[in-house]
Symmetry: C2
C-alpha cells in the first residue's frame, strides 16, 4: 500500500498530512487506534469482504472526540467555546472541554436524539435546544460567538474537525489491511474530506465512496454538480448527517478526494443497522450504517471487493433503536 | 501506578511477565490494544466509576484470540491441533490455525450457543459436538490428541492461553487509568490468573476480584477452600465459564493473584447484560456481564471506587439475547 507513496500527487485540499500527524499527538489516546477488523459473519449478507473501523468504543461513542481534542488543546483565547451540533460534536466538545476546564455551549436542534442531548448536559456543557433544524442551530451558534466574543467551533469548516477525522485515515492506511474501497458517511464533510485526503495521498488506489441518505442529499448533489446545492428540509433517521447547507470550502475539498458519492434509502439504513446488530453485535446509530446500506443497494458494484466502512457513532435513543432493529424480527 | 514496581514481590505463578511481553509479539495486532474507556452513562446505575476493557471488537468477538495466536505461532510438531471449547476458544483457535494452515479440531458440548458452533465451522475447523457438557468434551479432546498424536490445547492449563489473557493485564497497567479494582470473569481461570499475575506484579494495589455464576461455582469454591472442589453439574446462562472441574495448577496460581472471588445470581447477569446494552450500547455474552453483575449485587463494596471490568466476549445466540435483554423492557 505504501510503495507508490512518494509518487502520489498530494491532493490540494485544506488539509496537510504532516499537520494531521502532528495534530494527532494532541488527541487523547482513548479516541485513537480504534478497532479495525474483518467481520466475516457479515460477508455472506453483503457479498464482499467487509472490514469494520469501529469508532463507538470510547467515552462519547463516536469519532468526533478526535477533532474536539485538537480544538480544545489549541484553545488559547479565553476559556469558552460554542458549537452547533447534531448531537455528537456537542458531546465530544463537552468532553474535551471538561477535561481542560473550558466552558462549552452547544446549540442543538430539538430533533436531535434525546440520548445525545442528555449526554451533552451530563458532560457539563450548557445546552441550548432550538425548535428548528441543525442549520438554524448553526446560525444561532454564530450569533452567540459574535455576541460573547468567544470561539465558534464549526464542524467540517474548522480544519481541526477534519484533521481529527483524518486520523482515522492514517490508521486505515497504516494497518496491514488491503482495501479496494472505503465507505464514509457524508454529512458536513469533515469525515469524508479528512479520511479522503489521507487515503488519496497515501493509498490512492483505494476508492473513497461517500454515502448520504436520500432524505438529506445536499452535499452529494453538490458534489455531483460541483457547486453548492442546498435543500429546504431533510427527512431521514440519520440525524448525524442531516444538513441542508453544504459549506463551500468543504465541498471544494470533497471534490478533490471523493471518488463517488451515493445516496441510500431509509429502508437500507435500517437493514444495515439490523445486520450490524444481528451479525456483528454492534449497536450503531443510523449514520454509522450508511456504508452497509450502500453495499445493500448495489451489491454488484462491491461484489468480492475488500471494503472498509467507518462505524462512526453509536448514540441512539434506545426506544427508536428497538423499533428500527427489533421490529419485524423473525427470530 | 508504576512507582512501587521495583519493590513489588513477584507472584510465583507459572507466569512470567517478561515472557508475557515476549509472547505478546506473536499476537496478531487485531486482538491487541483493545479499547479501555470510562463509561459514565453506566455510572449512575452502578454507583462507582466504571471503565470498560472491550474484547469483543475483533474477528472472533472475544479475548481468546490473544492466547490462540501464541499457541498457533509456536506450533512446531505437525500441523494439527485439538481443543475442547465452550465455544470461544474453539473459534479463536480455528481463526489462528487457519491463518497458519493448521488443521484444527474442536470438541464442544451441545450446550454451547449455536452462534459459537456455527463460527467454529465457518472458520474451517473440524467440529465434534458431544451430547455432554464441557468437562466431558475435555476428556474427549485428550482422547483425540493421544490417539492421533497431535497437540492438545488445554485452556487455562496451557501457559500460552494464560499469557494471551495476561496481555490484557499489561494493557490495563500501561494505560493512564487509575484503578482500585479489576473485575474478571472466572471460568477455567486463564483470564483471571493471566491478568491477575500482571496486575499483582505491576500494580499490586489494584484489587483483583474474580466473578463466577452461582450456577457454576467450582473454581470459586476451590479458591475459598484452597483445594480443588468439583461439582456434579452446572446451571448458568454464562456458558463461557460453566466448568465443573478446576485444574489444580490453575487454582494454585489463582490463590496467588486473586484478592477475592465472588458468586453472582443469574438474574444479576441478565441485568448486567441489559445495562451494558441500554447504557453502553454493547452486545455482550453472559460471561462478559459478570463484572457488572458483581457490582449490582454489592454496590456498597464498590461505592465510589474506580473499577474496570473486562467485557470478554460478545458471542450470543441472538434469540436468547433478545429474550434476556428485551423481555420486560419498559421502554
Amino acid at each position: 500500500m505504501y510503495k507508490r507513496r512518494t509518487l502520489n500527487p498530494v491532493p490540494h485540499t485544506r488539509l496537510n498530512t504532516d499537520r494531521i500527524r502532528a495534530a494527532r499527538e494532541a488527541i487523547n489516546p482513548v479516541f485513537l487506534n480504534t478497532p479495525l477488523y474483518r467481520c466475516e459473519p457479515l460477508e455472506p449478507h453483503l457479498g464482499c469482504a467487509i472490514s469494520i473501523k469501529l469508532e463507538t468504543a470510547n467515552p462519547v461513542r463516536c469519532f468526533k472526540g478526535r477533532g474536539t481534542e485538537i480544538v480544545a488543546s489549541q484553545q488559547t483565547r479565553g476559556n469558552e467555546l460554542v458549537c452547533a451540533s447534531a448531537g455528537n460534536l456537542g458531546q465530544a466538545l463537552a468532553w474535551s472541554g471538561r477535561a481542560r476546564d473550558l466552558n462549552v455551549t452547544v446549540v442543538a436542534s430539538h430533533k436531535a436524539p434525546k440520548a445525545k442531548l442528555d449526554r451533552i448536559r451530563a458532560l457539563g456543557a450548557t445546552l441550548e435546544v432550538l425548535e428548528a433544524d441543525f442549520d438554524t442551530a448553526r446560525d444561532r451558534a454564530v450569533e452567540i460567538a459574535q455576541h460573547r466574543g468567544i470561539r465558534l467551533v464549526e464542524d467540517s469548516l474548522d480544519i481541526e474537525t477534519c484533521e481529527g477525522a483524518a486520523a482515522i485515515g492514517l490508521e486505515l492506511v497504516e494497518a496491514a489491511h488491503k482495501l479496494d474501497t472505503v465507505l464514509i458517511a457524508l454529512g458536513g464533510g469533515a469525515m469524508a474530506t479528512g479520511i479522503g485526503h489521507v487515503v488519496k495521498e497515501l493509498a490512492p488506489h483505494v476508492e473513497v465512496v461517500c454515502v448520504q441518505p436520500q432524505g438529506a442529499p445536499a452535499m452529494t448533489r453538490s458534489w455531483r454538480e460541483k457547486r453548492v446545492i442546498t435543500t429546504d428540509s431533510t427527512n431521514t433517521i440519520a440525524d448525524g448527517v442531516a444538513g441542508r447547507r453544504p459549506i463551500p470550502e468543504v465541498l471544494e475539498d470533497l471534490l478533490l478526494v471523493a471518488d463517488d458519492a451515493v445516496l441510500v434509502e431509509e429502508e437500507s439504513i435500517i437493514r444495515g443497522m439490523r445486520m450490524l446488530f444481528d451479525h456483528a453485535g454492534l449497536v450503531v446509530e443510523p449514520s454509522a450504517a450508511l456504508g452497509v446500506a450502500a453495499i445493500l443497494e448495489d451489491r454488484e458494484r462491491f461484489a468480492n471487493k475488500r471494503v472498509a466502512t467507518i462505524v462512526c457513532g453509536g448514540n441512539v435513543d434506545m426506544d427508536a433503536y428497538h423499533q428500527w432493529v427489533m421490529t419485524g424480527r423473525t427470530g
